[in-house]
Assembly symmetry: C2
Homo-oligomer: 325 residues x 2
């Protein structure tokens, strides 16, 4: 099937065509890569834009339950929702938390939802590109909201934040008044902190945790992309679908403000530039693993290893051979 | 002064010449860089080798006190000791923990010791190169032991482990039986875990912590570079200078075993190759920030930011212009 026909099918909402296209952008084969670039290019215009929501949270916080409840609420409002996962650790752990779709059984059966488990791959650079391209495919397929989930290992939150319009941090009620060891850098990325499990016995603890985080958020320096009152901490209960509508209202208010202020377009432009630069960096480094560079690297590396050349001197020689000094 | 004379002074043990040479390798100026490479090259032969000891530990564990006590013990045995710091965070925090030499007052006055505070610079790639070259300078200056300290922020332990022959992890006695949240990856790098403050009231807790870590170390998979019984956990008291001689004996035994098994040379060869490859990668990326690449990147970046080009397509074009696809 030619590229134009595949692009038409994806645009028309054909789910199998979308799933196949995502498999294509995930492939490492050079011929697949060329095909993927041609397909993405064919899908670029006319432009369709989804709201990209990044979501992070430690395991056990009820992320799958939250995504299911939040996703169903959105599809209930007539919106089309795609869920993607960024999981650089899946190569090690043997599968994404989304690998088992049965954890979002109702959402995965919803005709207005599309759930894509994370493939196993360990390299974060590859994960970022693949996810970015999957987001673009979902946007072309007409989804209104793309949820990008991260398991929160290493740098993956940063990657997801650079792919998202909004960043949600999902937390569990804390035992005491400690802030669950959430790294300051992660907290600084959040637009909304949602404290889940605000139901039953845990409700008082959840409300206390919200208050703690609300206090902590006030200590952060003001970000130009925030209207007054943001970032914000709120309680939700994925189990009882409580607080989700309110959270969605906040996301829409934040989105509207950012669009009106030009922050929205600015952020997307900055992200696109960031990914272009990152792609060039990855491409330059990847070339070192191909001939003839690979052979030159190995030869100089051997001379360094046996003490014949200093690392600095060998590197200077290699860069000279590459015409890069 | 010409390079040959400066090299001669450094080799003769002139401390001011050494300090100036370290300042030179720390400089980002291109002309200084050329000078630094020439000086390092002049100092390469005849080869002098120090024992390079990496040291990591969270703040508050008594690292400065340990380095002072351990360093004084070594100089007391007639050894010359250099102390370097790797602190990628110092740009943020406004100074290394070694910035204040008064924290190692006695060692800094010892004629057989040389303490070099960490300069402020935030880029880890630069930190690694600078420290690696400072180590080479200290070796040429005839130091027997080079202690490389890290504050343990982000990736700095990995950098220090790749610069060291031995890696020490310094810990404080734990309150309960928890393992102080030491990341598994850091524990896997350690050759010796030293539990400090094994004195006074804390002694029982320190001994319990040693036992806990000894147990945890047994669960790690065997590494080819380890003789039976290693890695090992031991109590020390920097305050009372207790356990330091025993720790030093273990380091010497480990060193002797690795040298006899060829592990020592292999590790140094692997490290040299690693730093050569890393230096090439850094050099390739650095070239993007110089003209004409910088202008090309900015031009394509602008087209990506305004939506005229996709990040992937622009990156492919840039790599084509660089002759790298």
């Amino acid at each position: 099937m030619d590229i134009t026909e595949r692009a038409r099918l994806i645009r028309s909402g054909d789910r199998r065509a979308l799933a196949r296209a995502i498999t294509l952008v995930e492939s490492a084969r050079p011929d697949h890569r060329d095909e993927a670039l041609a397909l993405l290019s064919a899908l670029r215009e006319p432009r369709r834009e989804a709201l990209r929501i990044g979501l992070s949270g430690t395991p056990g916080v009820g992320k799958s339950t939250f995504i299911e409840a939040f996703g169903l609420m959105l599809t209930g409002q007539g919106l089309k929702v795609a869920v993607l996962a960024v999981d650089p650790s899946s190569a090690r752990s043997g599968g994404s938390i989304l690998g088992d779709k049965t954890r979002m059984e109702r959402l995965s059966r919803d005709p207005d939802a599309f759930i894509r488990p994370s493939p196993s791959q360990s390299q974060l650079g590859g994960v970022a590109r693949r996810t970015r391209e999957a987001v673009a495919l979902c946007e072309a397929a007409g989804f209104d909201v793309v949820l990008i989930e991260t398991v929160g290992v290493g740098q993956s939150e940063t990657v997801v934040a650079q792919l998202s319009d909004l960043f949600l941090l999902l937390l569990a009620p804390a035992g005491g008044d400690e802030l669950q060891g959430v790294k300051r850098g992660i907290m600084e990325m959040a637009d909304l902190i949602l404290v889940n499990k605000a139901d039953g016995d845990l409700k008082p603890a959840a409300l206390r945790t919200v208050a703690d985080y609300a206090g902590a958020l006030q200590l952060l320096r003001h970000r130009p992309q925030d209207p007054p009152g943001f970032p914000k901490a709120m309680p939700v209960s994925a189990l009882e679908s409580a607080g989700l509508a309110k959270a969605w209202e906040e996301m829409q208010a934040l989105t509207a403000w950012r669009k009106a202020q030009g922050q929205w377009d600015r952020a997307r432009a900055d992200q696109a530039r960031h990914w272009f630069e990152e792609e060039v960096r990855q491409g330059l480094l990847a070339a070192l693993a191909r001939e003839p560079q690979k052979g030159l690297m190995a030869g100089l590396g051997d001379r360094v290893a046996c003490g014949d050349l200093a690392p600095e001197a060998a590197a200077a020689e290699m860069l000279r051979l590459l015409g890069r000094t």
